[in-house]
């Protein structure tokens, strides 16, 4: 039997029960749509997150105290670890130690809120070198200036605030030159940042920046730093810089065994890879849950194919009597199941495509995120592929039952 004839035979078989066939494939339509949609949205989300993170700049490295955190509790531990000190920063800033570093800046995270008169706001308070931050995140003060190195040396109580912070505390009044209170200490506002919104993990509009020395001594009374923020001369030197940083810090901390490091260096590449892995795992997990509905759809297909094989027993007998082999009968019914599920898969893919496009529009408008509509050929192939797989898996048993029928008994079937 020729292949076009096999296809034609299968389509004719389906046509005789079009309404029923359509109802049967709904399960497949929904299952495939769910899988393809989850993969599409997951891909778009990952792309969005990665693009945001990349906003920080590829030349960035971050040194944190403690070990590389493997879970949330270990992340918390790094905040209380005091292994990174002022002298580490001085050592890292030496050209002979880390020749590829353009800047080395400590960062202090200050919990708490700020007040101005009777206005209270909870921003993100950082003790940081404002200029490095500005360069890395590409923001400049819209009004005033950054605090200077002199301010840092002098532990001056000056601050640069984000656009949103200004709005919350001052409304339309002038902020520059006013005094706000951070954890109760008076700070003079010397600059207000450009509205820049989310950059990477950071909403720059919610920042309150103070000299890190001031943050250490006045606000937290600590002598260590939470993080060291390093920028390489060039993104291509990041690995080299990371190695130099590790060597220098091990020397400073008297560590010979890298396994005993009391700090770790994260490059942007590390971060991207971690995020990529986590979001991919999440996407695959969700898709796997969606795949369960395909199993249900597949059982529906099997059921309807078994009914069809029984109803068409005499047809099977006749086909065998005029020369159909068992393999040809099996192929006919398997092909019918396959056509059903692949049609369902195609429909489901189209539906997923429409929903993904709709979601992209809604997310862009409602959340003003640079969300992209993602529809890769991989998604389409995966949708059709899983549908075909379901057809073959759940069509095989009914088709084999059809093929095994004894021709005479089949012809006699009432």
């Amino acid at each position: 039997m020729r292949i076009p004839d096999q296809l034609r035979t299968a389509t004719e078989g389906l046509k005789t029960n079009l309404g029923r066939s359509f109802l049967t494939i709904l399960g497949i339509v929904i299952g495939v749509a769910a899988i393809v949609l989850v993969l599409s949205l997951g891909g778009a989300a990952r792309e969005l997150i990665l693009r945001e993170v990349q906003g920080i700049g590829g030349e960035t490295l971050v040194v944190r105290p403690g070990r590389q955190p493997e879970g949330p509790s270990e992340v918390a531990q790094t905040l209380f670890s005091d292994s990174l000190k002022e002298r580490d920063i001085i050592a890292l800033r030496r050209k002979e130690n880390v020749p590829g570093a353009r800047s080395v800046d400590p960062a202090i995270f200050v919990p708490g809120s700020v007040t101005y008169q009777d206005q209270v706001y909870r921003p993100t308070i950082f003790g940081w070198n404002a200029e490095t931050l500005a360069e890395a995140f590409d923001i400049t003060p819209a009004e005033g200036t950054f605090f200077t190195e002199e301010d840092t040396r002098a532990r001056a109580q000056v601050t640069v605030i984000g656009d949103r912070v200004r709005d919350e505390l001052f409304g339309s009044a002038t902020a520059l030159g006013e005094t706000i209170r951070i954890r109760g200490h008076a700070f003079r506002v010397v600059g207000v940042l450009d509205a820049r919104g989310q950059v990477g993990f950071l909403n720059t509009d919610e920042l309150v920046l103070v000299p890190y020395t001031t943050a250490q001594e006045k606000l937290l009374a600590i002598s260590y730093v939470h993080e060291i923020f390093i920028r390489a001369d060039d993104p291509s030197r990041v690995e080299e810089v990371a190695e130099d940083v590790r060597r220098t810090l091990r020397e400073m901390h008297g560590i010979t065994d890298p396994a005993k490091d009391d700090f770790f260096v994260a490059t942007q590449q590390d971060i991207l890879e971690r995020i990529g892995t986590v979001t991919l795992a999440l996407t695959v997990f969700l898709a796997a849950i969606a795949a369960i509905s395909l199993v249900v759809g597949g059982i529906g297909i099997m059921n309807i194919m078994l009914v069809s094989v029984t109803e068409r027993t005499r047809e099977i007998g006749l086909r065998k009597a005029v020369g159909a082999t068992n393999a040809e009968i099996r192929a006919q019914f398997l092909l019918e199941a396959l056509l059903l599920t692949v049609t369902g898969g195609a429909l489901g893919t189209v539906i997923a495509l429409l929903f993904a496009a709709l979601a992209a529009v809604v997310i862009r408008q409602q959340f003003s995120l640079p969300w992209s509509f993602q529809f890769s050929t991989t998604g389409i192939l995966l949708g059709l592929g899983t549908a075909a797989l379901v057809g073959l898996t759940f069509g095989l048993y009914p088709a084999t039952r059809a093929a095994r029928k004894d021709p005479i008994e089949a012809l006699r079937y009432e």
């Binding site: 039997m1 020729r2 004839d5 035979t9 004719e12 005789t16 005499r314 047809e315 007998g317 006749l318 086909r319 065998k320 009597a321 005029v322 020369g323 159909a324 082999t325 068992n326 393999a327 040809e328 021709p407 005479i408 012809l411």
Partner: protein
């Protein structure tokens, strides 16, 4: 060499305590070009014998030589090919595919023979001409009378130019006039050289055959050759 040669063939149904012998130790040969009628009371094994001759069933014991070659060691696929190429079946119940047009019903054996579509259609029209059904090509079986359905079924049986045409009570569901027409068609095919084996209850039909084999309780009880009647003179007006 005989076209069909069955030796010592038995066919039993069921197992152990419910064993039903349908055929017992049957010896039987048919030459190419014969027109043979098989008669016998209900349950005597006529259909069983016909199914074995047409490769739809296998004997429980004994051997079956088709054109001198034993089919005992052929697998199911080889039997399917033999059915496809060498045999045309005509059933009492017609067994046309419902909801499928006459022309597409007739081409079915050629589909399984792998004949290209255009050639298939040409041959199907030819067979439909033989049975006088060219005016109903696009009708579906439910739109045809019983006699017309059986003629379509005969067209399907001859479309692959089989050596052997096996008809199991082809007129059983037809009135006398339709039955005559079907019989006339079979006789014409016989005149063209086809080997025809006809199972029937009716003596009047069997009388058109050259040879009548009678079965009783699974055994051949008589096998008589008869003077061939000139049916064409009889039927044509």
């Amino acid at each position: 060499m005989a076209l069909l040669d069955i030796r010592n063939v038995s066919r039993t149904y069921g197992e152990e305590d419910t064993v039903t012998p349908a055929l017992r130790d049957v010896f039987f040969t048919v030459e190419e070009g014969e027109f043979l009628a098989i008669m016998g009371p209900s349950g005597s094994g006529k259909s069983t014998l016909l199914h074995i001759l047409g490769f739809l069933d296998r004997p429980t014991s004994g051997s079956y030589l088709f054109t001198g070659k034993s089919i005992g060691d052929l697998d199911d696929e080889a039997l399917a090919r033999l059915r496809n190429e060498q045999v045309g079946f005509v059933f009492q119940m017609f067994h046309l595919l419902p909801r499928v047009a006459v022309l597409n019903n007739v081409v079915l054996p050629l589909v399984y023979a792998g004949v290209p579509a255009i050639e298939r259609e040409r041959r199907a029209r030819e067979s439909l001409t033989v049975v006088g059904m060219t005016h109903r090509l696009n009708h579906v079986p439910s739109q045809l009378s019983g006699g017309e359905r059986q003629r379509v079924a005969i067209a399907r049986a001859i479309v692959n130019a089989p050596r052997l045409i096996l008809a199991d009570e082809p007129t059983g569901n037809l009135d006398a006039a339709s039955g005559q027409m079907v019989l006339e068609t079979l006789e014409r095919l016989h005149a063209q050289g086809h080997t025809i084996i006809l199972v029937t209850h009716e003596t009047t039909l069997a009388n058109h055959a050259e040879r009548i084999v009678r079965l009783h309780d699974g055994r051949i009880v008589s096998d008589e050759r008869r003077e061939r009647r000139n049916v064409h003179a009889h039927f044509s007006k």
